[in-house]
Amino acid sequence: MGLNNFKELFQDEQFYNSIMVTLKYTLISVPITLFLSLMFAILINQKIPFNGFFRTAMYFPSMISGVSMALLWFWVFNPQAGLFNYGLSFFGIDPIHWFLDENYALWALIIMSFWGLGAGMLIFLAGLQGVPAHLLEAARLDGAGRWKTFWNVTFPMISPVFLFQLIIGVIESFQVFTQAYTITRGGPNYSTWFYVYNIYINAFKNFRYGYASTMAWILLVAVLVVTYFIMRTSKRYVYYEGGGSK
């Protein structure tokens, strides 16, 4: 690994761009996915009629992953005959050229990412079912409202699950590749040029193994640093029963 690689990296516009694309995707996709999957898990946990059906129906899309999912959504976002623009037409919105317009391509991939929230919902649901009934009962007897009960009892009890999902979610979105490779090839105008796609192109299309390895190292460091940072800041809100660590 030569220092020249680093020198070149810091002058490489595509390197910075791929970091920005990946960060933007992560910062938007992960929090919203977390929020939605927790919200639906809470809803399903309310003993709503047919909740077993909802659980399976919501998880079902998560089974369609990888290239199948990318192809399906490529088709859903088709400007002329796609389902998405058809749905928008009910709201009087003109067809959007999702993957041909650099202002929309990354947004389309972010919207796509919400489709897989069923898996996260299942994990939250398992966490919610582990909240002891006597604690909820005690809160109710103390006259705590729903909101208070959630913030003071339920959330602390599932906070380790929340942390786990946050870390997994961030690490996964740092490594987006399939969508970029299958659908956009990093375009239009580099607007979906994700970090790992950048590594792939440099190593296996331009055959610059050393240069790409330098970037791979930086990814590893970034994953470690971000995980450490999330763990550190989590001490404020994560509660472990018995005070031990997970």
Partner: protein
């Protein structure tokens, strides 16, 4: 006193009614969300049975006017696509990955769970630390290694790593093996079992559920993986499904054959859905344990 209880009881009635209303609202929200989330699945199904002409209609027809079953036939008869061959490749890679992962990870996990000696803790920490390694960080050296071994453009680079254990599965199985009582092993030793038989005849049969979870998830990982096969496979007859399907979008067709692509997507999701239907409990357990989508 009576007043208080009366008060409490009337309050309870109100709470009950509130719950009822909130349940109805919740039900309606979930219904709307589920319909929205499942509509692309329907779009996939209906597109796969449309003729090329109908597929491009706007607004899209909900149910195909003519059921074009020939789309599915075309996948297997069209010599340019090689779909059947690629399906077989994916199955081969998937099955061998499962065999490799289950055997090697359980063997290593057995060692970590049953033998506590000098440095075993350190060794385990080393294995766990590889969990933090994202695949892109190791793919280039691994690629160069397999290149030097002359294994490029074959399925072996996709299968072999599985026979060297996976940190995730080792961790999962070690946790499970640690819960097995020592008496079992002492009894086995007294009966003259070799250490290998303790692993093969006592531990593995008892670990059925944990092994099933490992098998299901290692299969799904390998089945959906795109990045690894894209690196290694060059010729079309060696492609796994994800690579083949991504390649179907290429310029070979003047117009992307969306109906064929959707048919291919359905067929490629099928094994996963079958696994889910057969082993739903293991599935949910595995997701909760691993956080895998």
């Amino acid at each position: 006193m009576s007043e208080v209880t009366h008060d409490a009881s009337s309050k309870r009635i109100i709470v009950k009614r509130k719950l009822k209303l909130s349940q109805i609202v919740g039900f309606l929200i979930l219904l709307a969300v589920t319909i929205t989330m499942l509509s692309p699945v329907w779009f996939m199904l209906s597109t796969s049975l449309k003729t090329t002409k109908e597929m491009l209609m706007f607004p899209p027809t909900i149910i195909p006017k003519v059921f074009a079953w020939e789309n599915f036939r075309e996948l297997f008869t069209n010599t340019e696509i090689k779909f059947g061959q690629q399906y077989k490749n994916s199955l081969i890679v998937g099955i061998f990955t499962v065999i490799g992962t289950v055997l090697s990870s359980s063997f290593v996990a057995f060692g970590f769970a049953r033998y506590k000696g000098k440095g075993s803790g350190l060794m385990f920490m080393l294995v766990l630390s590889t969990l933090m390694l994202p695949y892109p960080a190791i793919m280039i050296p691994q690629f160069l290694l397999f290149m030097n071994l002359g294994l490029h453009d074959s399925l072996l680079p996709l299968i072999l790593p599985a026979f060297f254990g996976s940190a995730y599965m080792i961790f999962l199985l070690r946790q499970f093996f640690s819960t097995l009582p020592d008496e079992l092993y002492n009894a086995g030793r007294i009966d003259g079992c070799s250490e290998f038989r303790l692993y093969w005849n006592i531990t593995l049969p008892l670990a059925g559920p944990a092994l099933a979870t490992v098998a299901i998830f290692s299969f799904i990982w390998s089945w959906n993986d795109l990045l690894t096969p894209v690196l290694y496979l060059d010729s079309q007859e060696n492609f796994t499904l994800p690579v083949g399907m991504a390649a179907m979008l290429s310029s070979k067709f003047r117009l992307a054959p969306w109906n064929l692509l959707m048919a291919a997507s359905i067929l490629s999701v099928l094994p996963i859905i079958v696994l889910f239907a057969v082993a739903q409990k293991r599935f949910v357990e595995g997701i909760v344990l691993t956080g895998i989508k």
